[in-house]
């Protein structure tokens, strides 16, 4: 229920903010999952911190996303309310992670 309310709030918030500022295409949850996937990937495979630390590090509020780590492929996937998701993969030590 809380999740649905949060989605409703996010969707409602997608109307134009005051001042006529540019509103970019991806919504909050799309940004949230992309941020989580990319930064979780970097945290695990570039910084070398553990999953518990990295999960806390990428945490946003409200925390509407899931995180899934594929250790073999060195990929991280994040999903929000089953509608939006993002994935990042580790390339190599010099180039770190990139959003797919």
């Amino acid at each position: 229920m809380r999740g649905l309310v949060a989605v409703a709030l996010v969707v409602a918030g997608c109307s134009s903010p005051p001042g006529g500022e540019r509103v970019y295409q991806r919504n909050d949850l799309q940004l949230l999952t992309a941020h989580a996937a990319k930064e979780m990937c970097s945290c695990l495979f570039v910084f070398g911190r553990d999953e518990a630390f990295c999960t806390a590090w990428v945490k946003a509020a409200p925390d509407l996303k899931t995180l899934h780590v594929d250790w073999d492929d060195k990929r991280v996937e994040s999903q929000a309310v089953l509608l939006w998701g993002a994935r990042a993969r580790f390339v190599d030590a010099r180039h770190g992670c990139v959003l797919e």
């Binding site: 540019r22 970019y24 295409q25 570039v46 910084f47 070398g48 770190g96 990139v98 959003l99």
Partner: protein, 380 residues
């Protein structure tokens, strides 16, 4: 015959001297390893160390609350020798740490290297090197980008406002993520290039993208390593790219704190390293002088952050913009690479100090001036 040989030897000596005469000489360079004086300093400066640690390493509340100073490392070097080093919050010396906008200062180095190699000139149009989605932005030069004066309409916000209006979030994680240069260059103009200063991750990433072509062409795709990181012994350096392969110059450089120290030490040595000049003569001086657009019209200023040069924060007052000395307890020749959540690499030439801090500060309360004051007391 002997006279000719003598003349040749003298000439060779003169030429060799000329190439290196402008670079500082040091008894050692920390390319492979740092000399350490931490034990010595601990004995000589116990009160100063206690004061620094009390300030920087005291955690408040639970980790969840993300309150106060959350220091992950402090490393201080004098004359290139480590005099203080401490890690916290589970971080160790051999782990790369995110640097966020310290990355922008790394782009300054790449720009300097490109200029030194004769690959670019600062007043070249960006269109000399890349094709833009909008030709009307061909009036933007590399200098404009260095000086954060592209004039592009950009909203540099991170947390705390609607995420959907943030240009930097859209660039890193949203519609701009695959090709950040095109995304930045697709924005409307706010002002003509060179007229106004506005801190923008867009300008730094745009610059990194522009430099990527000529640098890759001349030195191969790993130019940042062969021309900079490997030379300094920054073996941990990671520079993440977007899908085009251009480094994300605003935000995604990662390295160990000791490698960040090496980076600072390059700038403490006028852009020279172990007898080689990486950055052009005068580059560091120009990079650490207040830029003309900043003096003319700085659209965003935060007194404690510093004033701006070429992707570096400065401790220089700018009366034209009603900016007092940003870090009043610190020598005015200090300059810093600084990143979100408390990252910093500070160079103080007059004290021959380089001070690195990595952190995860989330509440904006950290007093940078006070930190530097305490670090200087330990290190100088």
């Amino acid at each position: 015959m002997r006279g000719h040989v003598l003349a040749a030897v003298l000439l060779a000596t003169l030429l060799a001297g000329r190439a290196h005469a402008d670079c500082p000489t040091r008894p050692y360079w920390p390319t492979d390893a740092f000399l350490e004086r931490t034990a010595e300093t601990a004995m000589a400066r116990p009160a100063e160390i206690a004061a620094l640690e009390q300030f920087a390493f005291t955690l408040v509340g639970s980790d969840d609350e993300r309150k106060g100073a959350r220091t992950d490392a402090v490393v201080i070097a004098r004359a290139g020798e480590i005099v203080y080093e401490r890690y916290a919050r589970g971080w160790s010396a051999d782990q790369r740490h995110y640097s966020w906008s310290v990355s922008k200062s790394v782009v300054n180095a790449l720009a300097g290297i490109a200029v030194a190699a004769g690959l670019v000139a600062l007043d070249d149009s960006v269109c000399k090197y890349v094709t833009l989605p909008r030709a009307d932005h061909c009036d933007i030069t590399l200098r404009n980008l260095l000086e954060f004066s592209s004039g592009l309409a950009w909203k540099e916000t991170y947390e705390g406002e609607s995420n959907q209006v943030s240009s930097v979030l859209a660039m890193l994680y949203g519609e701009g993520a695959a090709d950040m240069l095109s995304f930045v260059a697709g924005h409307d103009s706010r002002d003509p290039p060179g007229a106004t200063y506005m801190y923008s991750s867009g300008d730094s990433t745009f610059l990194a993208g522009v430099l990527h072509r000529p640098l890759s062409h001349a030195f191969g795709a790993d130019y940042a390593w062969t021309q900079l990181f490997d030379v300094l012994g920054m073996s941990s350096a990671t520079f993440e790219s977007d899908a085009t392969g251009a480094p994300v110059g605003s935000s995604w450089f990662d390295a160990t704190p000791r490698d960040l120290l090496r980076f600072g030490y390059l700038y403490a040595n006028d852009g020279c390293w172990d007898g080689a000049r990486l950055l052009p003569e005068g580059w560091v001086a120009q990079s650490t002088a207040v830029s003309a657009p900043y003096r003319q019209r700085a659209l965003d200023t935060a007194p404690a952050d510093g004033t701006q040069g070429w992707q570096f924060w400065l401790n220089l007052a700018v009366p034209e913009q009603r900016q007092p000395t940003p870090w009043p307890d610190v020598p005015t020749d200090a300059f810093a690479a600084r990143g979100h959540w408390g990252q910093s690499v500070t160079v103080i030439p007059s004290l021959d100090l380089v001070i690195v801090r990595t952190a995860d500060d989330r509440d904006g309360s950290f007093d940078f001036d006070q930190f530097l004051k305490l670090a200087i007391a330990v290190g100088s």
